[in-house]
């Protein structure tokens, strides 16, 4: 649909009003600060006010409401206490989602960081670094939904005898095997989803780690080389300890992202065949099945699981800063 400026005029007007209001608020604050003899603490408060307001409206209030919802029944809205949480730890589907999420959080960050690290170590000092990194970064430029669709094709199944349209089954058949339904056979289908996610994320790890490796003082590696260290020893004894902070950041960032994994699962299996993860199950419960209470309980669980990672991340950053 072409963009029709005339038809969109009311929206543009709203936008304009919004921008104007924002500018007015900012100028008012600045003006207030500029004029009166405001003390430091008050000044900080005034400057923080808009951000705090937005956070309250966009994050804190919905969060509290979700928390409240998680103690109610989705259909009637009646108070049900901890029923939804009991459900989350007893229902087969919810337990499957929890188990899968655990597998994801363990496997995705470790695998993609390990793969990224090896790649980074290999290309960090290479002449083709830029090219090599852009190659690995390309999957990151694709959205997770796109990656999910691509990998769905890779895993596509045709019956034996028919032409295989999936890369993996094509290879299997070429080597004389029987085509398999990669996304249907449990529990391996979870692993195949994880592979797709790692593929999409490994570029992130590689780029950050390459930068970190390049920041390792060359004197250290040279000294080690002079002392007769092997490349493996240099990686283990010099590089790894030097890039430890970055390594941690990469691992944690990926763990946080993985906990919230949704797109890949939704596009590839929709959580069917026991591949559900927390975020996807939460969506299904809340929006497809109308079980807002259960969905909210899963959301709260998800939040609780992410919190330690985020807390650690923040603390690490504070230490570094």
């Amino acid at each position: 649909m072409p963009f029709d400026a005339v038809a969109q005029q009311p929206k543009l007007l709203y936008l304009l009003q919004g921008v104007a209001a924002f500018a007015a608020v900012v100028s008012l604050i600045l003006l207030a600060l500029h004029r009166g003899p405001v003390r430091r603490r008050a000044a900080a408060l005034i400057l923080l006010a808009p951000a705090l307001l937005l956070l309250a409206v966009g994050l804190v209030l919905p969060g509290l409401r979700t928390l409240a919802l998680s103690f109610t029944d989705g259909g009637t809205g009646a108070w049900t206490g901890l029923d939804n949480y009991a459900w989350a730890f007893t229902d087969h589907r919810a337990l499957t989602a929890l188990r899968n999420t655990l597998a994801w959080v363990v496997l995705v960050p470790l695998t993609s960081t390990a793969a990224g690290l090896l790649y980074a170590a290999a290309v960090a000092r290479s002449r083709f670094r830029a090219l090599a990194l852009s190659l690995l970064l390309t999957p990151m430029a694709i959205s997770f939904v796109g990656a999910g669709v691509v990998w769905k094709f890779v895993y596509a199944y045709r019956p034996a005898g028919a032409g295989q349209i999936g890369l993996l089954n094509r290879l299997v058949v070429a080597f004389g095997g029987e085509p398999r339904q990669w996304l249907v056979d449990t529990p391996w289908n979870v692993l195949f989803l994880i592979v797709a996610t790692v593929w999409a994320q490994v570029g992130f790890a590689a780029v950050l780690l390459t930068a970190a490796i390049r920041a390792v003082p060359p004197e250290l590696t040279e000294a080690a080389l002079l002392d007769g260290a092997s490349p493996g020893q240099i990686l283990r004894r010099i590089t790894l300890p030097s890039i430890r902070p970055t390594l941690l950041v990469v691992l944690l960032a990926q763990a946080i992202g993985t906990l919230k994994a949704f797109d890949v699962v939704t596009t590839m299996t929709g959580g069917q065949f026991d591949t559900g993860v927390l975020a996807q199950e939460m969506y299904d419960q809340a929006f497809r099945y109308g079980e807002t209470g259960r969905g909210a309980a899963l959301a709260v669980l998800l939040f609780l699981l992410v919190t330690p990672f985020v807390a650690h991340q923040v603390r690490a950053r504070r230490r570094a800063g």
């Binding site: 249907v184 099945y289 109308g290």
Partner: protein
């Protein structure tokens, strides 16, 4: 159940402006936009008014919908904004909760409609719509959109499900006769299977709704085994979802669909149906590849066919023919096939399966 009831019928709800819906109109193949506006005069003229319609149906079905109200829109000046969304069932709640509800929604699941009605999210049909609905539809049909005695919409479109297709050529070549009863059906199935050909083929892949065709099978078999009373109790949740009688129906379905000797003909092991879309299973019977001798057929592929069009089944390979006439005539609002004398016995039973020949078409 969730998906089982889907597509069984769609219902208009949230009627806010006109009373355009109600009695299905006569006069099937009337060309649109050239109509005289006399029949629409009673709705008045509302130039500049916009009505949003949100539904699951896309592509051909959506085009046909738009045709049905083209005259209405032309004559009343109402701009009908149609939006088809394959994720309707998930997004309608988000849209309603987010204060972005459409004026009219086509619900593909009576159960989903009931949820919204109970949550107080639907507007009752106006007195005019209710009167037309009573005049144009039987109580059974109107019951789909009636919650606690309040009518929220009218039936909009129905699709025939539960057909079993077979290859006459294959049957002739093997001297098989078309089964008339369940016992005969299973006898033919066993006979074909014994000769080394998998008799049944099915595809149940449907993205996030994968598996729904099986729910149709289960409903069909439940109706056949237990009749409409148990079925209605099941729908109303008066008996548990996993009532032994339901489990029995599921097992019966499983005895065909999960049986590697019987399924999945032309595709591979029975499990392969999880990766085969239902459309694909329907297509896959060109004479070259037809190892598929019998196959249940359900809605969406039928739905692609023009409602009210003649009975040539263009999307069906000539090598396949339905074993018998559908229990419910295929019709849609705005089609010439207006009301059928044979409404299903129960509100929710759509047909029996395998079909019986004693049924007549309206």
């Amino acid at each position: 159940m969730r998906s089982g009831a889907r597509l069984a019928l769609a219902v208009i709800t949230l009627v806010v402006t006109a009373t355009a819906c109600g009695t299905p109109q006569d006069g099937g193949s009337r060309p649109h936009t050239t109509a005289d506006c006399a029949p629409y005069a009673r709705y008045g003229e509302h130039p500049g008014t916009e009505v949003t319609v949100y539904a699951e149906n896309r592509d051909r079905e959506a085009d046909l919908f738009e045709e049905t109200w083209a005259d209405f829109a032309h004559c009343t000046g109402i701009d009908v904004q149609y939006e088809g969304d394959g994720e309707f069932e998930a997004r309608i709640q988000v849209r309603v909760d987010g204060g972005n509800a459409p004026d009219v929604a086509f619900f593909p699941q009576p159960g989903l409609l009931e949820r919204f009605a109970r949550a107080g999210r639907l507007k009752p049909a106006s007195a005019g719509v209710a009167a037309l609905a009573q005049q144009g539809w039987s109580a059974d049909w109107n019951s789909y959109a009636t919650v606690d005695g309040t009518l929220y919409g009218t039936p909009l479109v129905a699709n025939v499900k539960s057909l079993v297709w077979y290859s006459p050529k294959f049957f002739r070549a093997r001297g098989l006769s078309v089964p008339r009863t369940w016992t005969e059906l299973m006898a033919v199935t066993e006979k074909v299977a014994a000769s080394g050909v998998k008799p049944w083929c099915a595809g149940i892949e449907s993205a996030q709704a994968t598996g729904w065709p099986v729910t149709d099978w289960i409903e069909d078999v439940l109706l056949r085994q237990q009749g409409t009373r148990v079925y209605d109790q099941w729908v109303a949740h008066e008996i548990p979802f996993d009532d032994p009688r339901v489990i029995k129906a599921m097992d019966t379905v499983g005895s065909i669909l999960k049986n590697d000797r019987y399924a999945n003909g032309g595709f591979g092991p029975a499990r392969s149906m999880a990766s085969i879309s239902f459309q694909e299973a329907a297509r896959r019977s060109s004479p070259a590849t037809a190892r598929c001798t019998a196959r249940p057929r359900s809605t969406p592929t039928c739905g692609r066919r023009a409602p009210g069009s003649d009975r040539t089944r263009t999307s069906t390979p000539s090598s396949c023919r339905e074993t018998t006439r559908p229990a419910i005539p295929y019709w849609a609002a705005g089609s010439s096939r207006r009301r059928s004398p044979t409404v299903p016995r129960s509100g929710r039973s759509r047909s029996t399966w395998p079909p019986r020949t004693s049924r007549t078409r309206g």
